[in-house]
Symmetry: C2
Subunit: 281 residues, 2 copies
DNA sequence: AAAATAGTGTCTTTAAGACAATATATT
DNA sequence: AATATATTGTCTTAAAGACACTATTTT
């Protein structure tokens, strides 16, 4: 006993309602041992949407050697078709039956950035009814953290007016497609938390970096972050000094950089130590 | 131009393949401005599965007043039908178009426990192809933390042989339905992390509790947790003492409990302070 | 010399960590 | 009196927090 109704609501959208006989999956003990006919409507798609963050750095024009201005940016694409035609949206795409959603997000990310070894992390699902006018579409939201050097070539390759980086605050003030403003807001809160509790700062830095650069990156993502004795804590506190280590040159001397400063600064790299935080110890 | 093919693989399962015309949603700039006909297969369901944890406590028989034995347990239900008939599985159910997945998880949880104001948190999506023999079914996994007192009445109400608590280690050693072993393993790792970084311990405790009870709950979830000066840290460290506070009686004296001890112990409660952890400060 | 970033000295207060000792009520 | 849990005393070492000071190179 099968009924199949097609409702053509828009010229490129099909809604379908299917009545099918399926064993009850309710776990209520009253029903668990009896079969029950129900009406089932299945989702019209399960896409992955990706909030791609990068931190751009721009040299200050005034002085030669100075710390660059850094800004947290998010990559958006301009929609070419209904729905939300002309509006900016997160990159993403429908996942297929033959891949996990994570694989589909990875595929989209590679298409968008041209780089494959990039931090990609799942953080939430968005399923509010009517969130997508095309139908019942449940979106799986990821964030990606990309070093600006990876996006530079992409930006140059196709001077695409329809793919652009926006400062996060600017993006949040725009009229974005779907519920993408909420998704970006949630992603921002997520990376702010992760910036302080994990070593994701490394995703925005070169392999070797100075303490000032690290401090700047943290402050760019979490503007309220303010540690007066930052260098002391990160380098001389026993419980934390395992997170980063000094880079040495071939003579066993500390490797220095004077990219941004008159006095050369020690270079550091992240170790593979994973800090374990606890409110009880 | 619509093709619809029904494949009846099992008497209560319908697989469908639909070819429909839809605008390309790939974000590749090569395709962004051209429409492309594609074959779309849509998911057959988007259920929420819930890992319901509780901590049971059993008084030691030998002595009258002694700390109880506590054990982390997970609620499972025995399947009554194909697929995985007879095997134990997580409670859960298909979400519908008119609710968010979170609402559907909340609904299932209330059906299962009879209680509504319970900690419920989303943690991951499971979408490995073939994870469900009924079709392309993407499962959204939640964990719930329930005080044992909430489950006691439920357990008594229907002496349901098909709904049972299992010690987590025992559940993980069983041959569970679907990929539910992996889901439980991930949920366990998740609550172990959250137990140490948030105040979810409160979900397993009464409103008022002693330091020993709190310590026991943490150790039950995270067996490696071992803090020799626990009482000192939680009560006399400035940065942490905001997490809990002493309960006072009407005379302004500390309210005590001797449920588990000869010498009465001070009762505490959690404040609404949300601790902020950081590896940098 | 002024500017800009990098890093150290020094002092006070607070917390961590270990473990012995004391407190209170029950059996 | 022995027992079981709760709590405090005391000591040593480590870290937090503040802020003035020195270091290095460029302009």
């Amino acid at each position: 006993m099968v009924a199949c109704v097609f409702l053509l609501c828009h010229n490129d959208i099909i809604k379908l309602i299917i009545t099918k006989e399926r064993g009850s999956d309710t776990l209520n003990t009253e029903h668990a041992s009896s079969y029950k006919a129900s009406n089932y409507r299945t989702p019209d798609g399960a896409p992955a949407d990706i909030v791609i963050f990068t931190i751009t750095s721009e040299a200050k024009g005034s002085v030669k050697k100075a710390l660059p201005l850094r800004e947290l940016q998010v990559l958006l694409i301009q929609r070419k078709q209904w729905p939300f035609e002309g509006q900016w949206a997160l990159p993403g795409g429908f996942s297929t039956e033959s891949e996990t959603i994570h694989e589909s997000a990875r595929r989209e990310l590679t298409e968008e950035t041209g780089v494959s070894d990039v931090h990609l992390e799942y953080f939430n699902v968005y399923s509010t009814p009517q969130r997508d006018p095309r139908g019942w579409i449940i979106s799986h939201a990821y964030f990606a953290l990309v070093h600006e050097s990876f996006l530079e070539k992409r930006q140059a390759a196709d001077d695409a007016a329809d793919v652009r980086l926006f400062p996060v605050e600017e993006a949040l003030a725009m009229d974005l497609a779907f519920d993408h403003e909420i998704i970006i807001r949630d992603a921002l809160a997520q990376i702010q938390m992760k910036m302080l509790t994990t070593t994701i700062a490394k995703e925005f830095l070169a392999e070797e970096f100075t303490i000032s650069e690290l401090y700047q990156v943290i402050q760019t993502v979490v503007p309220t972050f303010n540690e007066r004795n930052f260098i002391r804590k990160i380098t001389s506190t026993q419980s934390r000094k395992g997170i980063i280590e000094e880079v040495m040159d071939h003579n066993g001397q500390g490797k220095m950089s004077n990219r941004y400063s008159q006095r050369a600064a020690q270079l550091y790299r992240f170790t593979d130590y994973v800090p374990q935080l606890s409110i009880y110890s």
